[in-house]
Amino acid sequence: MTATLDRRAAVARLLADRRDLVIVTGLGSPTYDVAACGEHDRNFHLWGAMGGAVAMGLGIALAQPQTPVAVVTGDGEALMGMGALATVALQQPANLTIVIIDNGLYEETGGQASHTGAGADLAAIARGCGIANAIVVTREEELPALATRLHAPSDGPALAVLKVAPGEAPRVLPGWDGPAQRLRTTAALLASRATGS
């Protein structure tokens, strides 16, 4: 399978019609990809805690079942937290979508090959865990349907592996002040809960 998707353009397409979507980003390039779409109070960017992005998205999704939640992370980060896919499957949060930007590489640390490049299939693993709606996306034409699901989720959790071309996009660095991010995202999420929107 040739991976040709442009990661930056694919993420921009997925977030083009963003409304109340909450996004947790896994460390490294996915954080820069989401930040490149513009800063947002509903973004929470991880700069560490590798393997924790999916579980963090789950905690948000369970606390606010009416709010669409996305985890946007990389193949390396997802591999480290693979057990969390089984934990998500057990809870079946309909409002959670996991987007794995898969370049088959640990790009941040020098481009070493990851397990997905050699055949580890994270969508198949997710289905094996019990996330029935788990797909591999290889073509731009598939992105609109995924975007629709992302912003108006239903029918259980979903996972999409985006096969992107290798190659680093220009880094867009969001802030890494932890308490500032915590306060910003909490304020945004609790305000929406108070107004019921």
């Binding site: 947790v24 924790g52 963090m56 369970l62 057990l90 809870q91 932890g178 999420l189 609790l190 809960r193």
Partner: protein, 171 residues
């Protein structure tokens, strides 16, 4: 009659409006886990590894819910790097740890981690309280819950193996 300390802890968690209860099972937490599964206001969340509970409860906090993470002492080491999320962002956190490897433990594999739980939490900036007698369990968890949820601290309550009872290995 021995005090029903798991029920005391459960009552404290319910009173504190704890909603998400992630756990990796331990015999010492078995009664509490059963109570959580049976409580409609709480969601029991079985984990594959303890470290999932740290970002899970950080996410719950962002979205306005309180939680408590249940584990055995052997799971504390699994959490060490993930606790950097708690520390860097100053997330409140409540963990309840049933202890192994410290009192009449016959399984030597439990001792290296069990005997270093307080040191591991100390390394990562988690405050530790300890309950050593059954009648202390509820009040100790209540104290830690206040320090976590009102004070914003990362808290662990260690429930002593002497309180839980040493596991017997027989053929």
């Amino acid at each position: 009659m021995q005090r029903d300390w798991p029920q005391d802890i459960f009552a404290v968690l319910r009173e504190a409006e704890v909603r998400q209860v992630p756990y990796v099972p331990d015999g010492g937490h078995a009664a509490l886990i059963r109570a959580v599964h049976a409580e409609p206001s709480m969601r029991a969340i079985p984990l594959t590894t303890e470290e999932e509970g740290i970002p899970l409860l950080a996410g719950a906090h962002l979205a306005g819910q309180r939680g408590a993470l249940l584990m055995q002492s052997s799971g504390v080491g699994n959490c060490v790097n993930m606790l950097s999320l708690t520390k860097v962002c100053a997330f409140p956190l409540l963990m309840l740890v049933t202890m192994r490897g410290e009192w009449a433990e016959s399984n030597p594999w439990q001792v290296p981690m069990g005997s270093r739980v307080e040191a591991a939490f100390g390394l990562m900036g988690v405050e530790v309280l300890r309950a050593t007698r059954p009648e202390e369990a509820g009040e100790t968890v209540a104290a830690a819950a206040r320090m976590a949820f009102l004070g914003g601290n990362a808290m662990a309550v260690l429930i002593s193996q002497r309180l839980v009872g040493a596991k017997l290995f027989t053929e």
